[in-house]
């Protein structure tokens, strides 16, 4: 197992890895919704 994979699956760091992935997913969804919302508002203004 290479050092990076070993670090990711290590029980001591796995919790932080899962949290980071969940945060990235949420921030991605949030950014997408924010842009979509802005575009709909722009359409309504026009």
């Amino acid at each position: 197992m290479d050092p990076v994979t070993a670090l990711l699956v290590d029980p001591a760091t796995a919790l932080y890895v899962v949290m980071a992935v969940a945060l990235v997913v949420w921030l991605g969804i949030f950014a997408y919704l924010w842009r979509l919302d802005a575009k709909v508002k722009e359409l309504e203004r026009k």
Binding site: Y16, W26, F30, W34
Partner: protein, 226 residues
């Protein structure tokens, strides 16, 4: 920018920060449930999305009743959008539950009463969308869909709350619910759980309003083309 728009933008920004905080707290602040290990943290996502699914199906039914009373198409749109979101959140509850099942029971799917009942619920609402696409006439589609939505919601309390409790299930309610139905979580777990519940409800409200605006724009463009 109008005041209402500023408030709306502020609330969305707050929701973004709030949910990020809930995510961090779910992993670093709340302790794992006794006997279920780290995988028990899934409750901060699994139960709130299941709650939002029930809420969305309820909104769909109420809008359907409103449509039958007033015959205004806006209520048909509301019922449809709420059902779409309900289906999405129900699917998320199924996926998160399935991941938990893999970790604790050793398999993603084993037709436990909980899994079977949520699968039937998904099928019922999938049929709602099939019905909507099968009828061409707008007025007839809206009327049939409204009646179906009301009947579909009548099954929700049975499939979500009653059936899984009648039969023996591996679903770990005992870790979070007492025999009388009260919550048995400790203070930290309860704080994160309620925070997540509020956050996911906020996400539902945002998605609902956004999807409703998009649906109205689709109608306007469709009638313009015609």
């Amino acid at each position: 920018m109008r005041i209402s728009e500023r408030v709306s933008t502020g609330l969305k920004l707050f929701l973004g920060i709030w949910m990020s905080g809930v995510l961090v707290a779910a992993f670093l602040y709340a302790p794992p449930a006794l006997g279920l290990g780290e995988a028990s943290r899934v409750i901060y996502f699994h139960i709130p999305v299941a709650w939002v699914a029930v809420l969305a199906f309820l909104v769909s039914m109420v809008s359907a009743i409103q449509y039958l009373r007033t015959r205004e198409t806006t209520y048909d749109d509301r019922a449809n959008v709420a059902a779409q979101l309900g289906f999405l959140f129900c699917l998320l509850a199924t996926v998160t539950g399935s991941i938990f099942a893999r970790i604790t029971w050793g398999s993603f799917w084993n037709w436990d009463p909980r899994e079977t009942s949520i699968f039937i619920l998904l099928l019922i609402y999938a049929a709602y969308f099939a019905l909507r696409t099968a009828v061409e006439d707008d007025e007839r589609r809206a009327r049939l869909a409204a009646v179906y939505s009301i009947i579909a919601f009548l099954t929700v309390p049975f499939l979500v709350f009653v059936v899984p409790r009648i039969y023996f299930s591996l679903h770990p309610e005992a870790a979070f619910l007492s025999k009388t139905g009260g919550l048995t979580m400790n203070r930290k777990m309860l704080q994160v759980f309620l925070g997540s519940l509020a956050g996911f409800t906020g996400i539902f409200v945002w998605l609902y309003r956004l999807q409703l605006s998009i649906t109205r724009w689709q109608h306007r463009l469709f009638y313009k083309e015609e």
